[in-house]
């Protein structure tokens, strides 16, 4: 835990082509293992669940012939392993199958629902970091004093109050009583379809909604932009309380660890200002751990928060996966799970890259 001033650290950044290939191979291996594991587990859970995917399509009154025709059409008459292999081969060709509920290809659905969650999760994480980190630092510095207690109470509220209840209360106060903010929904229905979805998923030609905020700003539809922005405030604030509570608590405890280290005393003895001690010395050593925490928070928000999405009628991926699960719509569930998996892996990779930037030791 020494305050590192190793002169060699700066020279260890370069990586030879061989190292690069090795790293890429390693990454590829991790990714494919994650993917196969994720799909296999979701697939098996989906098939052993007591919910019947055939009934989800044909309804509970379907006559025998209709039921059996659908059973065969879904490939359920084949052995489980066989079904899974067919699925895997299709996915590798970019075909995630069709969703029962939306009647559209799962990929199209994901492209439609994920941006809504992405917008929300990104705003909540950014706000959570900018508010939560300073809160945690201040609480650690003023340990045991009023500020610390306030931060702890705020953290406790964010962590333990059901977000479902908090969301409804927020709607009641800011929408129903004060009329500062609009009600549930991602955008006023009358604005629907005004903005051309251009961003979508960037990778693929998106058929419907993309990132409303970016799209509307790019097309200079400021009325739509303002409307979408005012709609996102409350749900984003809900997720922010969650992110903030966690980040602030963790920051506080990491900071306390550092502030008790000898190098901090040394720095103070050297006569550095308190601000310099806290931010330049102690906080820098907390960064790595913080990046992990922030990454995890972001990833878990990207899964979509079902409760927040339900209360605010937010067409995000959490609601999509949950509804699909209730309807035994397994193609959609697996597709959604893969997206969530990709988010986790992706954020892990970004965290790794950030480690290297902030910690010279990690570059070796």
């Amino acid at each position: 835990m020494a305050h590192s001033g190793n002169p060699i650290a700066g020279t260890g950044t370069g990586s030879s082509p061989r190292q690069f290939v090795a790293r890429a191979a390693n990454l590829l291996f991790t990714l494919s293992l994650t993917f196969v594991g994720l799909t296999a587990i979701t697939f098996i859970i989906g098939r052993v669940m007591p919910a019947d995917p055939v009934l989800a399509i044909v309804g509970d009154r379907a006559p025998r012939e209709v039921y059996e025709a659908m059973y065969v059409k879904l490939g359920l008459d084949k052995p489980l392993i066989h079904q899974y292999l067919i699925y895997l081969v299709n996915v590798l060709q970019g075909d995630f199958g069709k969703s029962i509920m939306t009647t559209r290809p799962v990929l199209d659905d994901l492209i439609r629902f994920f941006p809504a969650t992405f917008e929300l999760a990104s705003i909540a994480t950014i706000a959570g970091v900018f508010i939560g980190v300073p809160m945690g630092v201040v609480a650690a510095v003023r340990q045991g004093r009023l500020t610390d207690h306030i931060v702890r109470v705020v953290g406790l509220i964010g962590y333990s109050v059901p977000i479902f209840w908090l969301g409804l209360m927020a709607l009641l106060v800011f929408y129903a009583r004060l009329e500062w903010l609009p009600g549930p929904g991602r955008i006023e229905v009358y604005y629907d379809g005004i903005v051309e979805p251009t961003t979508g998923f960037i990778l693929i030609d998106s058929p419907t909604t993309g990132f409303i905020l970016i799209d509307s700003a790019m097309q200079k539809e400021w009325e739509v932009f303002h409307n979408a922005l005012s709609h996102i405030v409350l749900p984003a604030a809900m997720l922010t309380t969650f992110a903030l509570a966690y980040i602030a608590r963790m920051t506080r405890s990491f900071m306390l660890d550092q502030l008790n280290q000898e190098y901090v005393i040394t720095a103070r003895v050297k006569g550095l200002s308190e601000m310099a001690v806290i931010w330049r010395h102690a906080f820098r050593n907390v960064l790595i751990q913080l990046i992990t925490i922030i990454g995890l928070t972001y990833a878990s928000l990207l899964e979509g928060s079902v409760l927040t999405e339900t209360v605010f009628a937010w067409p995000g991926i959490g609601q999509y996966i949950t509804n699909s699960l209730f309807n035994a719509d397994m193609n959609a569930v697996i597709g959604g799970t893969v997206v969530v998996g990709i988010c986790f892996v992706g954020i892990n990779m970004i965290s790794d890259a950030l480690y290297r930037i902030v910690d010279p030791r990690a570059r070796r």
Binding site: P50, A51, D60, V66, V151, P182, D192, N227, F326, N327
Partner: protein
């Protein structure tokens, strides 16, 4: 520093949404908040879900219809008139002149024949409504055909009352689709099935503009509708899954109608000056079914004792108040052929005597299955309590429908508390399911029929059901249904308990919303505000 950031955050929030953002709905647009997660298709040959059924009722005109002006009278929709041959086997439909589809194409006899044939050929769940007439993919082209530009002839290949056939032409599968448009979008011989799932090609009061699953549905008025243009130019149905959010939206005027409020929320709105509460009797029934394959439950006295172990009054006066009323026969009240006698009430003494007669004076142990959603778990608990008073010990299992129905269809339940609504407005729709079981063998898999699911086989009741379905004389047919329902009420494994009403919260200025007895008799076209 903490303060600085708090101020910054607050300032940010105010800057983002500082302007009053509540907008009232435009005068020419109706906005409805509804849980729409049940829609899986909008093809009228396949729709069998509540929300989908309601939407296609507003998009497509059907061969025969109940119109919002008089929901009790079956009238011609796309068909202007009909004649029935003397033997009751052939119905000749005359198509109303001057109707057009949303595409501008005229509505022809060919479209009617195509729509009905399509239902049989696609063979989706609701097709059984037509296949019972003896229509199949092989013969439907010759039994259902356009004989000239505006005449369609339907031939029935089974013993059925033509009255029943006409009633079933009012169901969703009786929707008339635009053959030219549908076939222009056909892919690999699918009769336009993939396309029609999320597009429309009808001649009804509205056309489908967009359906974004789990988000919204937009309908646009058809200015050329045969009853004149609808009162609203546009109808937007928003998917709002959370009832509390629906309540706030309708209170603030951001939606005009909220459809899924809970009874206690509706009570809370009773004194509001902004909204009114509409109450619409529905044909949905709530019932208890015992499995006849179960050794104890198959005893006639035990089945009858069940009827006396349900606290009907207690439930409708407490947690079911306002939404449910007592009804004890298989065809709901308020409809042609209903049977409104309610001979049963909670009577522990009588039940005990019946149980003793069956050989169980000290009761027995049994399992109750029902749905997780309200009010089914409450109903099951009430029944559990009254069963206990007669010495019957019971365990309740709550499941989602997707888990419960497979169990029921596999005959693996003991006692189940469930619901049922008719597929079309004819008593046969319910008696065929509750009372008709032509083949009780396990391998017959008549899983669509409740009588089969409960392993109940009664040849006399079967004969009565078949007889009533084919009777030509309407007065006689009505009598037969009364007799049949009276018998089913006494001997079947079904204890019918309640009939439901739908409660809808509307803004005060909304007039003309009509919600009829069946799930797909909800009409938007007369709405004004």
């Amino acid at each position: 520093m903490h303060k600085t950031f708090a101020c910054l955050a607050l300032g940010l929030v105010l800057a983002l949404g500082g302007t009053p953002a509540t907008a009232k709905t435009p005068n020419d647009t109706l906005v409805i908040a509804k849980d729409m997660s049940d829609i899986i298709t909008l093809d009228p040959a396949e729709v069998f879900e509540f929300t989908g059924g309601e939407l296609i009722a507003n998009i497509y005109d059907r061969v025969m219809m109940f119109e919002p002006e008089d929901l009790t009278k079956l009238v011609g929709g796309v068909a202007e008139s009909y004649t029935v041959s003397d033997d009751g086997k052939t119905i000749t439909l005359k198509v109303r002149a001057g109707q057009t589809f949303h595409s501008g194409n005229p509505v022809r006899a060919e479209d009617v024949a195509f729509s009905l044939q399509r239902v049989i050929k696609l063979n989706k769940t609701p097709s059984f409504i037509f296949t019972q007439f003896g229509w199949s993919a092989d013969n439907v082209d010759s039994l259902v055909k356009a004989t000239d530009a505006m005449t369609v002839s339907l031939t029935i290949n089974a013993e059925f009352s033509p009255g029943l056939v006409l009633n079933s032409l009012q169901a969703g599968v009786g929707s008339v689709v635009d053959k030219k448009t549908v076939m222009a979008n056909e892919k690999d011989g699918d009769l336009g099935y993939e396309w029609l799932k999320n597009h429309s090609a009808g001649s009804g009061a509205f056309s489908l503009k967009t359906w974004k699953a789990n988000e919204l549905v937009t309908l646009e008025a058809n200015p050329n509708y045969r009853h004149g243009a609808p009162g609203m130019k546009r109808v937007i149905i928003r998917h709002v899954p959370e009832p509390s959010a629906q309540r706030l939206l309708v209170e603030k005027g951001d939606v005009d109608i909220a459809r899924n409020l809970q009874p206690d929320q509706i009570k809370g709105l009773a004194g509001s000056s902004d909204v009114v509460i509409g109450k619409y009797p529905k044909a949905g029934l709530t019932y208890v079914a015992t499995n006849d394959a179960h050794e104890i439950l198959s005893k006639p006295q035990v089945r009858l004792a069940m009827r006396y172990l349900i606290d009907y009054e207690g439930m409708v006066n407490s947690f079911l108040a306002g939404e449910y009323k007592i009804h004890q026969a298989v065809w709901p009240s308020g409809l042609w052929g209903s049977y409104d006698e309610t001979p049963f009430s909670l009577d522990i003494g009588k039940a005990k005597a019946l149980l003793a007669e069956a050989g169980y004076p000290n009761g027995f142990k049994i399992k109750i299955d029902t749905l997780t959603e309200a009010p089914f778990s409450e109903i099951a608990q009430s029944i559990q309590q009254s069963l206990a008073k007669a010495g019957i010990e019971s365990d309740i299992t709550l499941s989602e429908g997707k888990t419960l129905w497979p169990k029921y269809r596999a005959r693996k339940h003991e006692i189940i508390v469930a619901r049922w609504s008719p597929d079309y407005i004819d008593p046969h729709s319910n008696t065929d399911s509750f009372a008709h079981n032509p083949d009780n063998r396990l391998e017959a898999k008549l899983t669509g029929k409740l009588a089969w699911r409960t392993s109940w086989f009664d040849p006399e009741i079967n004969t009565l059901t078949e007889g009533a379905a084919k009777e030509l004389d309407l007065t006689k047919r009505k009598q037969m249904y009364a007799e049949l329902q009276q018998k089913v009420q006494m001997v079947s494994p079904f204890s019918i308990m309640f009939q439901r009403s739908e409660q809808v919260v509307l803004r005060k200025n909304v007039k003309g919303f009509v919600s009829g007895s069946n799930f797909d008799l909800v009409f938007y076209r007369n709405i004004t505000k």
